[in-house]
């Protein structure tokens, strides 16, 4: 079964998304030997662009990425899902999608690159809810900036538009111009509500940056930026490779080995697509395999020494699953045409509900006015209304230019009952169990979503909206987090403030799985900042040992 040659490196990283690849790049540039094990294949942009162009169902953002059998990712957000099985009262609200391949899920994110607010790290202290992180905003600030430079983030001048997360440096690039639709929306909010619309910080070029072009507003950031104006993890893989890191695709890690004292990780084992097993040893190990897969790997590695799974003496691996589960509505504005869909998908948000004293009883949230092309939805609506011929064409034009889509990111709380376990019945072709998640929306989030609905209704009224279509129940936001929660107490948490597992001194986790709470901003920039902080820790320990 085992290959003859054992691979070895100073640092072995599982996963090549933004977290794993950025650590690999930092370490390789410092002269440290690195092996990156990626479950999925090496990929490239042009084939995804062609897949997207030939796709019938354009809004399906998993559509252009049919997975390989040895590293399945969720095919869609539908229930039942053939891979990520969800149960519990809010099973449908936890249908997360992600990508298992070189570069990870940032192939189809929308580039939203928020820093968390200082209060997001201290929810317990400030509002008596959830937990505090084992680090503060100021600990992460330099790494936030490093991540913004690495990814190429554009954002507003803090003197003109303070997003609430103190900055020592300006954004690497100027903010995106706000689209025509967003300008109309912003005017309405400014004039008729006490709220505000701000520029969304985006990992997207507003000038040529890092040998990649300026965004041209193709409006299909999800599922695929056709020109490379938006950051994705594959760039960091390329940079890491150029700096000497070894990238091994199609390497599905299924086992984390420890020494006899169970204190240090000694190696990992992976299957290739033919289920041949290979062993990789190293001094340090980083699991950077996305919230779902990271927890799954720790649990799959259970053995006699650790019957509940690796790094799991607390029993918290797989627990405290969170997301920005939100609310979504589309409607037809009765005011003048907005012509959404001209520019990147997300350029603006209402950030008036990100923080406040009310967080002691209900969750915070962000509201996105989603600036996507609405021809698809408009056509469905016009047909359903019975229009034909020339009238159908006119209606499609009218509806597409007047459709408004709003959705929210609502704050969850870590609840140990919301739990990822290994499926007892479903396995992949390699014999590795599928993940299964029990999910019940915390009351804190339910109250937050109720508040959001009332705000949305008010906005619909202000825009004289008709034809409201509310997404039934709740809307998953694909920001899973919490499955290897951070904390100071090894009895109730999995990793410490440096993302080092309490149980194994040379095992780190770089993923949203370490989040102690989930705040409201999209999670990727915080994932990247935490990862770069892990790289910094590893550099200090390896170079100054």
């Amino acid at each position: 079964m085992s290959s003859e040659q054992t691979l070895s490196a100073d640092v072995v990283i599982v996963g090549s998304g933004v977290a794993g690849a950025s650590i690999a790049n930092e370490l390789a540039r410092a002269g440290i030997s690195v092996i990156v094990l990626e479950a999925g294949p090496r990929v490239d942009r042009q084939h995804f662009v062609e897949n997207f162009r030939t796709l019938e169902n354009k809004p399906s953002y998993q559509g252009p990425f049919p997975s390989v059998p040895w590293a399945v990712h969720p095919p869609n957000q539908m229930t039942p899902n053939a891979y990520l099985h969800t149960t519990g009262p809010d099973a449908e609200a936890y249908q997360q999608v992600y990508l298992r391949m070189m570069g990870g899920t940032t192939w189809h994110w929308a580039g939203c690159a928020w820093r968390y607010l200082p209060s997001d790290f201290e929810l317990k202290t400030r509002y008596g809810q959830g937990r505090d992180w084992a680090l503060k905003y100021d600990d992460l600030e330099p790494f936030y900036y490093q991540a913004e430079v690495m990814m190429g983030v554009c954002g507003p001048d803090p003197a003109k538009e303070d997003l609430g997360s103190p900055r020592k440096q300006p954004y690497p690039m100027e903010a995106l111009p706000i689209s025509y639709a967003a300008q109309q929306f912003r005017k309405l909010i400014d004039e008729k509500t006490p709220w505000r619309v701000v520029h969304e910080p985006q990992a997207r070029n507003t000038r040529p940056y890092d040998a990649r072009p300026t965004c041209e507003g193709h409006n299909n950031c999800m599922p695929i930026c056709p020109i490379g104006a938006m950051y994705n993890g594959s760039y960091s893989v390329y940079h890491a490779e150029a700096a000497g890191a070894k990238f091994i695709p199609n390497a599905v890690v299924y086992k984390i080995e420890r020494d006899s004292a169970n204190k240090r990780v000694t190696g990992v084992q992976y299957y290739d697509p033919d289920k041949q097993s290979h062993r990789v040893t190293g001094k340090y190990f980083v699991i950077a395999a996305h919230c779902i897969e990271t927890a799954k790997l720790l649990l799959v590695s259970a053995d006699e020494q650790s019957p509940e799974g690796v790094a799991n003496s607390s029993g918290h691996v797989g627990r405290n699953m969170m997301d920005h589960t939100g609310v979504q509505v589309t409607f037809i504005s009765g005011d003048k045409a907005l012509w959404p869909g001209r520019g990147p998908l997300l350029t603006n948000v209402i950030d008036s509900f990100r923080d406040g004293d009310w967080r002691n009883e209900r969750g915070a949230y962000l509201v996105h006015m989603v600036d996507d092309n609405q021809v698809d939805l408009a056509t469905q609506l016009a047909i359903s209304k019975g229009y034909v011929g020339r009238e159908l064409e006119e209606q499609i034009r009218y509806l597409a230019s007047h459709t408004v889509r709003l959705f929210s990111h609502n704050e969850a709380l870590p609840d140990p009952e919301n739990r990822l376990t290994l499926s007892k019945t479903q396995k992949d072709v390699l014999g590795i169990p599928h993940p299964e998640v029990y999910y019940k929306l915390p009351e804190y989030t339910v109250k937050s979503c109720d508040h959001t609905r009332s705000v949305f209704r008010e906005l619909i009224g202000l825009m004289h909206g008709t034809d409201e279509q509310w997404t039934p129940g709740y809307f998953p936001q694909d920001h899973p987090s919490g499955s290897t929660i951070m904390g100071t107490d090894p009895k109730t948490s999995v990793v410490d403030g440096h993302c080092r597992t309490h149980d194994h001194e040379n095992l780190f986790i770089a993923s949203s799985s370490v989040f102690s709470t989930v705040g409201t901003g999209n999670i990727t920039l915080t994932v990247a900042a935490l990862a770069l902080r892990v790289a910094d820790t590893l550099k200090k320990e390896l170079l100054h040992a």
């Binding site: 294949p41 990929v43 942009r45 042009q46 995804f48 040998a211 041209e216 020109i227």
Partner: protein, 450 residues
């Protein structure tokens, strides 16, 4: 973006400023703002001479070779790779130990116009002294004064140039210099010349256009009966810019030329990329309107020479044409990286910016592919090079950018086969026809560009 380091020995021997492409933007920002003389007590005449020297250095594009990526202006160190080894540009700041601070004006003149160092050793003709030989005494002096008084000394050594035999014998250059024809020094005050003479002075003694655009004989000297008739640099091709209406740029107006030299592009005609983008960025975009017009006037009156391959104007070929409907297959598995055919490659890599029909965008920030001298040329070299290396040109306040698709690209890495198919599709659809470029040809250019 050290993307243009390997020029052929032929171009090297003849002396070329092309290594400049390796300049990083940071260096460019520095170098385009040379240290100005302090608003000192110097007499007015001295100030004027220093200003004149600064302008001459820009027109002669000294910074291009004598600054390395991220390095201090004129501190040298830029490596120009050749099959014979790297030629490393020298420190020409006025540092007395590491630079040229100890040079007298006569020694400076001997280096600039005759290619002889202070210690008597011969420079490799990468330094275009055969062109600079045409400078007036007055201008050499102004250049000397500017280097000595306005350039910041940098006490820093560069690596030594070590070439393989026989090029390692600097003395061999004596024989070459004997046979190579040099510009004859101009006389008088170059700023008072009439338009054509001033243009000629800018084109030859300073801008050394012929270094790239004039083909060379067996001894690697410029063929004077083929002045500006076009030559390969091994990777990029410096096209025929004589006044031939078919093979050259005789269909360009004087204003077209001025616009091109100032901005690097003319809508529905041409865009500067590669070494010419560097020339525009560092040199011609900083020239005065009067000088640009003089240069244009001179170039316009250069004798027409027909081109061997281009028999219709390169920039007046082709029309909009939609990609055939290829959206028939469903999505392929993520690990399917099969090389696609020409239309699909175009659709996946080019159409997002250049349009399904090749028309580019309205303001031509992204140019059309028809009416485009790179696509319409008989030689596909520059089209291949543009796909490999992209475009990165900042001139007159505008930054033109296209990503490269070579082995360092983060956007998309294309194979030799893919680039060959793409080039053949693009030339067949928007240019003069299928060029039947082979993967081997692409590979040769890919290697030459590194």
């Amino acid at each position: 973006m050290p993307d243009f380091k390997n020029i052929l020995w032929s171009a090297l021997i003849a002396g070329t400023a092309l290594g400049s492409l390796a300049l990083a933007p940071a260096a460019l920002a520095q170098s385009s703002a040379p240290v100005q003389p302090a608003p000192s007590t110097r007499p007015e005449g001295v100030e004027a001479e220093l200003a004149r020297g600064a302008y001459l250095a820009t027109a002669a594009d000294c910074v291009a070779c004598h600054t390395m990526p991220g390095g201090k202006p004129f501190a040298g160190g830029l490596k120009i790779a050749t099959p014979m080894g790297n030629v490393v540009s020298t420190n020409i700041t006025p540092d007395p130990v590491h630079g040229i601070g100890s040079y007298t004006e006569a020694e400076f003149e001997n280096a600039v116009r005759h290619g002889v160092r202070k210690d008597g050793a011969h420079l490799y003709p990468v330094m275009p002294y055969v062109s600079y030989a045409g400078m007036t005494d007055q201008d050499v002096k102004a250049l000397y004064e500017w280097f000595m008084h306005s350039v910041k000394p940098v006490p820093q050594d560069t690596e030594k140039t070590r070439l393989a035999f026989p090029a390692s014998m600097r003395s061999a250059m004596v024989a070459w210099n004997f046979m190579a024809r040099k510009e004859q020094p101009e006389t008088g005050d170059s700023s008072t010349y009439d338009t054509v003479r001033r243009g000629q002075y800018l084109a030859n003694a300073l801008g050394h256009c012929g270094t790239c655009h004039t083909p060379r004989n067996a001894l690697m000297s410029e063929k004077h009966d083929q002045y500006l008739a076009g030559a390969s640099l091994g990777s990029w091709y410096a096209p025929n810019i004589t006044s031939s209406k078919t093979g050259g740029i005789g269909n360009w107006s004087g204003d077209d030329l001025v616009t091109y030299l100032r901005t690097g592009r003319i809508k529905s005609r041409a865009q500067a990329a590669g070494p010419m983008a560097e020339v525009v960025e560092h040199s011609t975009s900083h020239l005065t309107d009067a000088d640009l017009h003089a240069l244009a006037t001179f170039i316009k009156q250069v004798a027409p020479i027909e081109d061997k391959l281009d028999h219709t104007p390169r920039d007046a070929v082709g029309k909009a044409a939609d990609v055939p409907d290829i959206r028939t297959r469903g999505p392929q598995r993520i690990d399917d990286l099969t090389e696609m055919d020409g239309p699909r490659l175009y659709d996946a890599n080019c159409a997002a910016c250049h349009g399904q029909d090749g028309a580019g965008v309205q303001d031509h920030y992204v140019p059309s592919l028809f009416a485009n001298s790179t696509v319409g040329a008989g030689r596909p070299d520059n089209l291949v090079m543009t796909i490999l290396k992209g475009v990165d040109r900042t001139a007159s306040g505008a930054h033109a950018f296209m990503p490269g698709f070579d082995g360092q690209s983060d956007v998309q890495r294309l194979s030799d086969t893919e680039i060959a198919r793409l080039v053949n599709y693009v030339t067949a659809t928007f240019g003069t026809g299928d060029h039947h470029v082979t993967p081997e040809q692409v590979n040769t250019l890919r290697k030459a560009a590194h």
